[in-house]
């Protein structure tokens, strides 16, 4: 209140200098002092002061955002409402296996032990003193294909369990050097401090290559739902290996064969085997706009989407506007980063006829995003839900409404 008073006083001062004739609505208090009548006080032409600065920003009431929780175990990132490549931290997808623990960095420690010269405990303060590394990277749950609303499935049901952040932390190789890895070590077992103490085994070669222990997400402390105070970032590997709320790292010469890497996150295959340690996220893309439930009008549209690969950079995305008959290269928005969501766009003139939009990603290893039919043929018709990355499409109806199409 005091702020607006002093503003009024300033305005009044200027107005008095300019003369009473200018005295349109400045508010009743100043009007009384100036002694003029303000006929236009409530006129729509008056530009009132908006609220001033505040401790925390908010979204426009006209552009509210929300994750979409489902099945009691996940919440989806609403890709249909996002642009660019970074997922706002509060919209990062969730998949927890026992809820979000409340960990106090005053008491939380990371234990590093096993085949090391010096078993060590680190506080968050210790971890932050090591040289820091920052990179953008997606994290994707390997079960990321749930079009259970059929043709009325928006992008978040198709791939809402991938999100991208800029992560900051310390290279795991730096921590391992601190502890001194013993000869013969080949695996690292990561364990979270959540209720079920979720644990996964990761080959040491990957841990030394590009795994980070991160404590910041998009410039600030990691959110509790993403692993506060610290988690693993295992670039390009299935979400479950990116253990949140990290409390323990054990260096070993064999995987522990936890439930999360045997009973779950494995794939029964048509050839009679069970595929285990299928860590890498296969290249994938999706058109996020236009998409269900949007409606489009005749004329120019910009087709927009995201593509990503756990094996490196996206080399290109091809878009079809005729249901897969012909394909054309989309424009890639740079910088194209390794193991990161990459935005693609393509201008498209819609003539008002029914058609189908599709996209397919190609990564730097030459992997081409497969069709659903190809995946089923290789793995079996009952396979899933892990590592499903099929080409998907949007049926454009003549009335401009869009519908999900699994294609293939």
């Amino acid at each position: 209140m005091s702020r607006s008073h002093s503003n009024d006083a300033l305005l009044l001062h200027r107005r008095q200098l300019l003369g009473a004739a200018v005295g349109a609505a400045v508010g009743s208090a100043s009007a009384a002092i100036a002694g003029v009548s303000l006929a236009a006080e409530d006129s729509a032409a008056v530009r009132r002061l908006g609220p001033g600065p505040s401790p925390l920003g908010e979204r426009s009431p006209f552009a509210e955002q929300a994750r979409v929780p489902a099945m009691g175990i996940v919440s989806f990132t609403p890709h249909e409402n996002l642009e660019g490549t970074i997922t706002p931290s509060d919209l990062h997808f969730e998949r927890h296996h026992g809820g979000i623990p409340a960990l106090d960095p005053q008491s939380h420690e990371l234990l590093l032990h096993g085949m090391v010269e010096r078993p060590l405990k680190f506080s968050l303060t210790d971890i932050k003193r090591f040289p820091s590394v920052t990179r953008s990277c997606f994290i994707e749950c390997s079960g990321n294909y749930f079009p259970f609303a059929g043709e009325e499935s928006p992008p978040h049901l198709i791939c809402g369990l991938t999100s991208q952040s800029e992560w900051t932390g310390v290279a795991l190789s730096t921590l391992l050097r601190e502890a001194g890895v013993k000869p013969g070590a080949s695996w690292i077992i990561a364990e979270g401090g959540d209720a079920p103490l979720l644990n996964r085994s990761i080959p040491l070669a990957k841990a030394l290559d590009d795994v980070l222990l991160v404590y910041a997400q998009n410039g600030e402390a990691i959110r509790p739902a993403q692993g506060y105070p610290m988690r693993l970032l295992v670039p390009g590997w299935e979400g479950n290996t990116n253990v949140k709320w990290l409390r323990r790292l054990e260096i070993t010469d064999a995987p522990v064969m936890s439930r999360q890497e045997t009973s779950k996150y494995t794939e029964p295959m048509r050839d009679g085997t069970i595929r285990q340690f299928s860590f890498e996220v296969d290249a994938r893309s999706i058109i996020t706009a236009p998409s269900y439930p949007a409606t489009i009008a005749k004329g120019w549209q910009e087709i927009r989407g995201i593509a990503w690969s756990g094996r490196g950079k996206i080399q290109g995305v091809e878009v079809s506007t005729d249901g897969g008959k012909t394909w054309q290269p989309a424009r890639m928005q740079g910088p194209v980063l390794s193991k990161s969501h990459t935005r693609f766009t393509l201008p498209w003139f819609w003539d008002g006829e029914a058609t189908e939009l599709q996209s397919r990603a190609i990564d730097e290893t030459g992997y081409v995003q497969p069709t659903l039919r190809d995946i089923m043929k290789e793995r079996g018709p009952g396979s899933g839900p892990y590592h499903f990355n099929p080409i998907t499409g949007w049926l454009v109806r003549r009335d401009g409404e869009l519908r999900f199409s699994p294609t293939g």
Partner: protein, 199 residues
């Protein structure tokens, strides 16, 4: 575009194979600090044997990490009925939580052909030790850590019994648990895909 994509695929495959070769060298390279970094920063505090014992509850497939004690299948039924059945069903057939038993003892290709067949401990789990480890770390879901080691042995025994992997009159301890050969173990293969084309 299609054609060029396929050519790229071959290039990518070769590049991936080439990438695997220096994998061993990688370990040494990654352990070299940046020129300006010290070898060690002397951060963190030494972890004692007690610190480690307080946290490390891992059980390996060879039984390493299994505690002493044990229980019978009959004792297991009592624990199971009290602490597990409400979510997993009285016979492990599943309720609010997944089934633990009752799936057909079929090979993976049949599971891959029909998603409605339950993946359970009998047809899908490669190690019985994992069952003990998981129940001890994560179950009961709403009060993980509330069971004593003997109660974990008991409920493990009962779940194995429900899957036809233990007789009704048998018992379970560290030695007998590590000796159980699980039917699905022989199907497990590491993912060996390196690049495009392999689905």
């Amino acid at each position: 575009m299609m054609k060029s994509a396929l050519r790229q695929r071959d290039v990518g495959r070769l590049r991936q194979i080439a990438r695997l070769l220096p994998a061993l060298a990688l370990i040494t390279v990654a352990l070299q600090p940046h020129a300006e970094d010290p070898t060690r920063f002397n951060l963190g505090t030494p972890a004692s044997t007690e610190d480690i014992a307080a946290q490390d509850i891992d059980v390996s497939p060879d039984g390493h990490g299994l505690p002493g004690g044990g229980a019978t299948v009959a004792q297991g039924k009592i624990i199971y009925d009290q602490a597990c059945a409400s979510c997993h069903g009285s016979e492990g057939q599943g309720a609010s939580a997944a089934a633990l038993a009752g799936g057909n003892r079929v090979p993976p290709d049949e599971l891959a052909a029909d998603r409605t067949i339950v993946h359970d401990v009998g047809n899908y789990w490669p190690y019985a030790t994992t069952l003990f480890d998981y129940i001890r770390r994560a179950m009961p879901f709403d009060s993980a850590g509330s069971l004593s080691d003997d109660e974990v042995y008991a409920s493990t025994a009962y779940v194995l019994y429900l899957n036809g992997l233990l007789d009704a009159d048998s018992s379970l301890d560290a030695t007998s648990l590590s000796a159980i050969a699980m039917p699905a173990a022989r199907y497990y293969r590491e993912d060996r895909r390196v690049s495009g084309g392999d689905l």
